[in-house]
């Protein structure tokens, strides 16, 4: 028997106050409960075309990229695997639409919304702070907007989305059990950028 509770707490619900204390040139916010669907199918098969019609954009086939619309974004996670990300609460609707579109073709759609929470990191210090724990070069020449890498940030597995060409806006998709650790690491990494105490 499942117990339905009316209160839903995001993994980083307790961290908002700590994020507020960060230096002015970096902002960190959790974007909880976003819709995430795991999509597995043959990139060249008919199911890929059907999915493209539903989400309004062709699935990215270039490794380590993402594309999207205002409604839904498709993240490349592997040659036959994508993560579809949308605002909170769209799971059922999006899943039904995708399954109907795929029909009898080979493809799977799985709701994995609870698997990761999203941290939005922005501001001019973004690249410098992340570089303290992430080996990926976030320079715009290497990682322009639209880059989606799965890698490690301070040894924790993350999906890292570069939102703009200056890497001043980065989203981190993190497992809930690692989220408090990554949050505390981020706050610690920002320490030296604080204004000197008067």
């Amino acid at each position: 028997m499942t117990v339905e509770t009316s209160i839903r707490l995001s993994p980083l619900a307790d961290w908002a106050a700590a994020f507020d204390q960060l230096p002015a040139d970096i902002q960190v916010r959790e974007m909880p409960f976003r819709t995430q669907l795991s999509l597995r199918l043959d990139a060249d098969g008919p199911a890929a075309a059907s999915v493209a019609e539903v989400i309004g954009v062709a699935l990215p086939t270039a490794p380590c990229t993402f594309v999207g619309t205002d409604e839904v974004e498709a993240l490349w996670l592997g040659p036959d695997e994508w993560l579809l990300v949308a605002p909170p609460g769209r799971q059922a609707q999006l899943q039904d639409a995708l399954r109907a579109a795929i029909g009898d073709e080979f493809g799977t759609v799985t709701d994995v919304s609870a698997q990761r929470t999203t941290l939005r990191v922005s501001g001019s210090l973004t690249r410098e702070v992340l570089a303290r724990g992430c080996a990926i070069d976030l320079h715009p020449q290497v990682s322009p907007g639209g880059t989606c890498v799965q890698t490690q940030l301070a040894q924790a597995g993350v999906v890292l989305l570069v939102r703009d060409d200056a890497a001043t806006s980065v989203w981190l998709l993190i497992r809930p059990s690692f989220a408090p650790y990554v949050a505390s690491w981020l706050v610690d990494a920002c320490t030296e950028y604080r204004e000197e105490a008067p």
Partner: protein, 106 residues
């Protein structure tokens, strides 16, 4: 840290990868026909060359795909990476597990 070129993601730190042992070790055609010694040979025995060696690697912290790599065991240079199902570049001529197969069926 050494960088390993994932065939999908490009150069990534070694810590993102898992090692999968020797590549191209073919599953026996008739496993039931093997003696215990031959089966042990297939399961446990691997080449250990000094020089180019074809290995399996997996990009565990990234795209989570298996792939093959030819690594020089003396220098740790990765001489080539190629996707599963493909054969190593002829120019490198790594040990391919052929010796093993012959022993197993001898």
């Amino acid at each position: 840290m050494q960088l390993i070129p994932c065939p999908w993601c490009g150069d990534r730190e070694e810590a993102e990868f898992h090692y999968g042992g020797q590549a191209h070790v073919a599953y026996p055609d008739d496993p039931h026909g093997l003696s215990d010694a031959q089966w042990a040979q297939f399961v446990f025995f691997r080449d250990n060359p000094k020089g180019p060696f074809a290995e399996r690697w997996m990009h565990a912290a990234g795209c989570r795909r298996w792939f093959n790599a030819v690594r020089d065991t003396a220098t740790h240079d990765l001489l080539a990476v190629y996707r599963t199902g493909q054969q190593p570049p002829q120019s490198i001529a790594p040990s391919t597990g052929q010796d093993q197969a012959q022993v197993a069926t001898a």
